[in-house]
């Protein structure tokens, strides 16, 4: 099963993990991304992180990523939950869970989803520090992390 959620509510990682476990697979891998206070560089702490997205296109992009992972690693269940709107440091911004019969498939499917969504899903971050908001630049490493999945293992 594929579960994709994009919304402003806090992410309930425990409930999401329980749902992925209930799929009946032997292995469940998860990834949780949390808002870091030092999200981009060390120029003072982030007070608020805002995440803009492209409604409709976002859900389609995440569902396509999850479906690709499900097929490639024969997963029983794939969850991608992504928060949008305003968040504070320490809050969950993204949660991925992959359930598969064996551990390598679950781990790879989970890593694939988080690498892919960094480059393929329409999210844009804006940080506010000391009352000044600025858009976060893309990281070159994200492209490299995503494309490694194109060339096999």
């Amino acid at each position: 099963m594929i579960r994709v959620v994009v919304g402003c509510d806090a992410i309930d990682a425990a409930a999401e993990l329980a749902e992925a476990e209930a799929a009946g697979a032997g292995a469940v891998a998860t990834f949780t991304g949390l808002v870091r206070a030092d999200a981009s560089e060390d120029e003072g702490d982030v007070d608020v992180l805002e995440l803009e997205h492209w409604p409709g296109a976002t859900e389609r992009a995440l569902a396509a990523i999850a479906e690709a992972a499900r097929q490639r690693w024969s997963c029983l269940h794939l969850t991608i939950v992504h928060r949008v709107g305003a968040m504070r440091p320490g809050e969950r911004i993204v949660f991925v869970a992959a359930a598969a019969p064996h551990r390598a498939a679950a781990l790879d499917a989970c890593a694939y989803c988080i690498d892919r969504l960094k480059t393929d899903a329409p999210f844009w971050k804006r940080e506010t520090r000391d009352g000044v908001a600025r858009w976060v630049d893309a990281r070159g490493g994200d492209e490299a992390a995503a494309t490694r999945w194109d060339t096999g293992e």
Binding site: G33, L51, E52, H53, W54, G56, A57, R60, H82, I93, V94, I114, L117, K118, T119, D120, A121, P122, F123, W124, K125, R126, W135, V136, D137, A138, R139
Partner: protein, 81 residues
């Protein structure tokens, strides 16, 4: 047109209807023409390496032909997750 994140802020609007000239055959050609329509557009589109595009909801390279696109989106590289 659909503009997102700092592209939207610099252009000054998130959406606009445009009638590009017939010689704007690619997304890049459309961007060239849009850059001449206002100072905000010019600022938003100054560095092409920082722009990404989608045609009718699908991500495409900037040199993609426009074809009969109904909606073209211009935005910065994504920074999710």
């Amino acid at each position: 047109m659909l503009y997102v994140a700092w592209v939207r802020e610099r252009v000054g609007t998130g959406q606009e209807d445009v009638m590009p000239p017939a010689d704007a055959k690619t997304v890049a050609g459309l961007v060239d023409w849009l850059a001449g329509t206002s100072a905000g557009h010019a600022e938003a589109f100054a560095d092409r390496t920082r722009l990404r595009a989608a045609i009718d909801g699908a991500f495409v390279p900037l040199d993609s032909p426009l074809g009969d696109a109904a909606e073209v989106a211009i935005f910065p590289p994504v920074t999710g997750g």
